[in-house]
C-alpha cells in the first residue's frame, strides 16, 4: 500500500534533522509542562478560560472589528483592510510608495509568511529584511521556516556558520554566541537605515486598540525605535475583547511557546509615538488581513481561529517530531497547520487534504493548547470533508465493505470464523492490503475469531 506524503517525507528526512527537531521540541515541551503545573493551581482551568475568551472574540468579530477600527483611528493610527494576500502586499507597497520609502525591516510575523510579503516587495525594488535571527537565516538561505516559533529548528550551527561565511558576515565560526553577535552588528545598522518597520501582532485589544507584540530578541522593539513608520500586519482573528484578558493570554503564551514565564519584550502599542519621544514611528498603519479567515469562520472548524501561535502543539506532536515542519508544505506546520493550512488554501484544499490525516489522533495537541482547541475533532471534520469531496487518499483503506460487514451480525460472525484461515496462510498472501501493510512491520497476532463467544457460551451453560 502506498504511504501518505508526510510519511514519505519523514522516511527521507536526514537522521540529523530528525534528531535536532526531536531534541528541541521535547525539551521545550517538558519545560513548559513543568512551568505551568508547578506554578498554577489549575492550569487547565486557565487554558479553558483563555479558549473561552478567544472563542467569544472570534464569534463576535462583527462587532469587535468595527470597535477596534474606531479605537485605532482614535489613537492616530490608519487602518487598512485586505481581503487577499495580494491585497495585503499591495497595501504595504502603497504605504511605502506614499512615503517614498525603499527600505523595510521586519519582525517575525506569520501573516507576512502567509502572504509572501518579502518576496513581493523585493520584486518591487524594496529591501525587506528579516530581523528575527531565525527568520534572517531563513532569508539568506532562501529557505522556509519549519516551526512557527523556532523557524530554523531544522538547521544546525554548522549550516548556519557556512551561510554566514557565504554572505560575508565573517569567517566560518559555528559558535552560537558568535553567530548571534554577528547578526546583532549587521542588523542594527540596517534598522537605523530603514524607513519602515513592519511587525505582526500577537493580540489586539478591542477595548483600547492596543496592539500587543511579543518577542524575545528585541528586534520588533528595534524596528519601532529606529524607524519613522510602523506597519502592523494583523490577521482579523487576533482580537481580544478587553485589556484584562491580556494578562491571562500573556501568562499562557510565554509558558506554552518557549517555556518562559513571560517573553522578554512585551510591547503594548496604542498608536504613533508621543510628541516628546525622540525615537519611533510618527506614522502607524494597521492592515487587517482576511486571506481565507472569513471562510474558516464560516466553517465548522472555526475554533482554530483561537490559535495564538504558541507552537506548543508542534512541540508535543509525535508526527511533527518525526517529520519536521517542511513535511507540511505550508506556512503552518504541525497540528495547528494540519487544520489551518488546508482551510486557508481555499480552492486548493485538495492539495493539502492529506495534512489532517497526519495524526494518530492522540490528542496531545489539545491537551497542551493554551486556548484548548479541540484539534483532533477538527482534523476529523477535515478528513470527512476530503472524503465528501472525493479527494484521493493513498494508504487509506476503503471502508464501504467493512461497514456493510459490521452492520450485519450474521456476516460478521461468519467472517470471524472464516478469518481463521489466515493463520494457515503466509501473511504475504493475505488478500487484505491493510493487513499486509500492518504485517510488513509488525507480527500479526493469531486469529482467534469467535473464540470468546464460544468461551462465554460454555461458561453460561455450566
Amino acid at each position: 500500500m502506498p504511504s501518505q506524503p508526510i510519511d514519505q517525507f519523514a522516511r527521507e528526512l536526514s537522521p540529523e534533522t530528525r534528531a535536532s527537531v526531536y531534541q528541541s521540541t521535547k525539551t521545550t515541551h517538558e519545560k513548559r509542562t513543568k512551568l505551568l503545573f508547578d506554578q498554577f493551581a489549575d492550569p487547565n482551568r486557565l487554558r479553558t478560560l483563555a479558549g473561552e475568551i478567544k472563542q467569544h472574540a472570534i464569534e463576535n468579530l462583527d462587532t469587535l472589528l468595527p470597535q477596534v477600527e474606531a479605537r485605532l483611528t482614535g489613537n492616530g493610527a490608519k487602518v487598512h483592510w485586505a481581503s487577499t494576500a495580494q491585497g495585503a502586499c499591495e497595501a504595504v507597497l502603497r504605504i511605502m510608495q506614499a512615503r517614498g520609502a525603499t527600505k523595510l525591516v521586519k519582525a517575525k510575523t506569520m501573516v507576512s509568511e502567509e502572504i509572501e510579503l518579502a518576496h513581493f516587495l523585493e520584486g518591487h525594488g524594496i529591501e525587506a529584511l528579516e530581523t528575527d535571527l531565525g527568520e534572517f537565516i531563513v532569508q539568506i538561505d532562501h529557505d522556509h521556516p519549519s516551526h512557527i516559533v523556532r523557524p530554523i529548528i531544522h538547521k544546525n550551527r554548522r549550516e548556519i556558520a557556512r551561510s554566514f561565511e557565504r554572505e560575508g558576515l565573517g569567517a566560518y565560526d559555528d559558535d552560537p554566541g558568535t553567530i548571534t553577535r554577528r547578526a546583532r552588528h549587521y542588523l542594527r545598522h540596517k534598522y537605523l537605515a530603514a524607513d519602515v518597520g513592519l511587525t505582526g501582532a500577537n493580540f489586539v485589544s478591542a477595548e483600547s486598540g492596543r496592539i500587543v507584540l511579543v518577542t524575545n530578541e528585541g528586534n520588533s522593539r528595534f524596528c519601532l525605535a529606529a524607524t519613522k513608520c510602523h506597519i502592523a500586519l494583523v490577521g482579523i482573528e487576533k482580537i481580544v475583547p478587553r485589556d484584562r484578558d491580556l494578562a491571562v493570554l500573556l501568562n499562557l503564551l510565554g509558558r506554552s511557546g518557549t517555556a518562559q514565564e513571560l517573553t522578554v519584550y512585551t510591547e503594548f502599542i496604542g498608536g504613533p509615538k508621543s510628541a516628546a519621544q525622540p525615537d519611533g514611528p510618527e506614522e502607524m498603519h494597521v492592515i487587517f488581513v482576511d486571506n481565507g479567515r472569513t471562510e474558516v469562520l464560516a466553517s465548522e472548524c472555526r475554533e482554530i481561529l483561537r490559535c495564538i501561535r504558541c507552537g506548543a502543539c508542534l512541540n508535543v506532536c509525535p508526527v511533527y517530531r518525526q517529520a519536521s515542519g517542511h513535511a507540511y508544505r505550508s506556512v503552518y506546520p504541525g497540528p495547528v497547520g494540519a487544520v489551518l493550512s488546508p482551510l486557508l488554501a481555499g480552492e486548493r484544499f485538495p492539495q493539502l487534504a492529506d495534512l489532517p490525516k497526519a495524526s494518530s489522533l492522540c490528542g496531545a495537541c489539545n491537551e497542551v493548547c493554551p486556548v484548548n482547541i479541540p484539534i483532533p475533532d477538527l482534523l476529523l471534520r477535515l478528513r470527512q470533508r476530503a472524503k465528501e469531496e472525493n479527494v484521493p487518499s493513498p494508504g487509506t483503506p476503503p471502508m464501504g465493505a467493512w461497514a456493510l460487514l459490521a452492520s450485519q451480525p450474521t456476516a460478521w460472525r461468519a467472517a470471524l470464523a472464516g478469518g481463521r484461515l489466515m493463520n494457515h496462510v503466509p501473511t504475504k498472501l493475505i488478500p487484505v492490503p491493510a493487513l499486509q501493510a500492518w504485517a510488513a512491520q509488525r507480527e500479526l497476532p493469531a486469529w482467534r475469531g469467535g473464540e470468546f463467544r464460544k468461551w462465554l457460551r460454555q461458561r453460561r451453560s455450566r
Binding site: 500500500m1 504511504s3 501518505q4 508526510i6 510519511d7 514519505q8 519523514a10 522516511r11 521535547k26 508535543v316 509525535p318 508526527v319 518525526q322 490525516k357 497526519a358 495524526s359 494518530s360 489522533l361 492522540c362 490528542g363 496531545a364 489539545n366 491537551e367 479541540p374 475533532d377 476529523l380 471534520r381 478528513r383 470527512q384 476530503a386 472524503k387 487518499s393 494508504g395 487509506t396 483503506p397 471502508m399 464501504g400 467493512w402 461497514a403 456493510l404 459490521a406 452492520s407 451480525p409 460478521w412 478469518g419 491493510a434 501493510a437 500492518w438 510488513a440 512491520q441 509488525r442 507480527e443 497476532p445 482467534r448 475469531g449 469467535g450 473464540e451 470468546f452 463467544r453 462465554l456
Partner: protein, 255 residues
C-alpha cells in the same frame, strides 16, 4: 473527552462490548473482563449481534459508513444498562466520536443516550461502582501505558488506582509516558514509517524501565507495540488491565 454527564449506575447488570479486536484476536481479554466484572458481583450480558464501534471509518473520514455501524451498535445495545468496554478508544468512540458524526442527524439523541451509559472498564470499576482497591496478588513490575483515548477522561487515573492497590504489583514510570504509541488505527498502515518510529521510541522507553509486564487498557496499542517488538526479535510481555486484575485473583502472572 466526555461529551456529557453520564447516567448514574443503578442495579448490577451491564452489557459487555467486547470490541472487534478481542472478538478477532484477544478472546482472553474479553474473558478476563467478564471474570473481573463477575467477581465484583456484576451480571454481564453479551448481545450476540455486536460487531464494532464504528471507529475505523470515523477516523478515516467516511462518516456515512461509520454512522451505519454506529446505528447498528445503538440497536444492539438497546435498553438502559451500562455498556462496559475494555478499551478506552472504543468507549471514547461512543461517547465522543459518534456524537460528533451524528451532530446533524435526527437520531442524535439515541446516540447521545448510548454515549452517556458507555464506560471504559477501569472507569466503570472505580468511578461507576466505587471500587478502588483490588485483592489477590500479582508479583511483578508493571509499566502502564495510558492510552491516548483516556486523555481528558478519568480512565487513566482509575486504571492506576486499581493497579497500585494490587498486592505485590509495582509500577515503574518510563520516559515520555504521555506520548502516543503510534497505532492510531488506519494511521498505522497509511503512515507506516512514522507509526513504526513512534512505536520503536515507546518500546525503548518501556524497555529502559525494565518492567516484567507492559500493561494498557487498550489492546490496540498493545497489538501494535507487541507486534513491533516481536518483529524486532525482542518480544515484550503485554497484558490488558483486565487480565492483570483477573490473574491477580488467581495468584499472579499466567503465561
Amino acid at each position: 473527552m466526555l461529551n456529557s454527564e453520564r447516567s448514574p449506575i443503578t442495579g448490577k447488570r451491564v452489557q459487555l462490548m467486547a470490541t472487534c479486536l478481542c472478538d478477532a484476536f484477544y478472546d482472553d481479554v474479553a474473558a478476563a473482563t467478564v471474570e473481573v466484572l463477575e467477581h465484583l458481583g456484576v451480571e454481564v450480558g453479551f448481545p450476540e449481534s455486536q460487531t464494532c464501534c464504528g471507529q475505523p471509518a470515523f477516523n478515516g473520514g467516511d462518516w456515512a459508513a461509520s454512522r451505519k455501524v454506529v446505528r447498528h451498535t445503538v440497536r444492539t445495545f438497546a435498553g438502559d444498562e451500562p455498556v462496559v468496554v475494555p478499551s478506552g478508544s472504543c468507549a471514547a468512540m461512543l461517547f465522543h466520536g459518534a456524537v460528533l458524526e451524528f451532530e446533524r442527524e435526527r437520531d442524535l439523541p439515541e446516540v447521545e443516550a448510548l454515549g452517556r451509559r458507555t464506560w471504559e472498564l477501569a472507569d466503570f470499576i472505580v468511578n461507576g461502582l466505587g471500587v478502588s482497591s483490588w485483592e489477590g496478588r500479582f508479583e511483578a513490575t508493571v509499566a502502564f501505558h495510558r492510552s491516548c483515548h483516556s486523555r481528558g477522561t478519568a480512565s487513566g487515573e482509575a486504571a492506576l488506582t486499581l493497579l497500585r492497590s494490587v498486592p505485590g504489583l509495582r509500577i515503574v514510570e518510563f520516559g515520555e509516558g504521555e506520548q502516543c504509541c503510534g497505532f492510531g488505527g488506519t494511521f498505522s498502515v497509511s503512515f507506516p514509517n512514522i507509526s513504526a518510529a513512534m512505536g520503536t521510541l515507546k518500546l525503548e522507553h518501556v524497555r529502559a524501565a525494565l518492567p516484567d509486564v507492559f500493561v494498557s487498557a487498550d489492546m490496540s496499542c498493545l497489538m501494535h507495540l507487541g507486534g513491533l517488538a516481536a518483529r524486532e526479535g525482542k518480544p515484550i510481555r503485554i497484558r490488558h488491565l483486565a487480565q492483570v486484575l483477573r490473574d491477580a485473583l488467581k495468584g499472579g502472572i499466567r503465561e
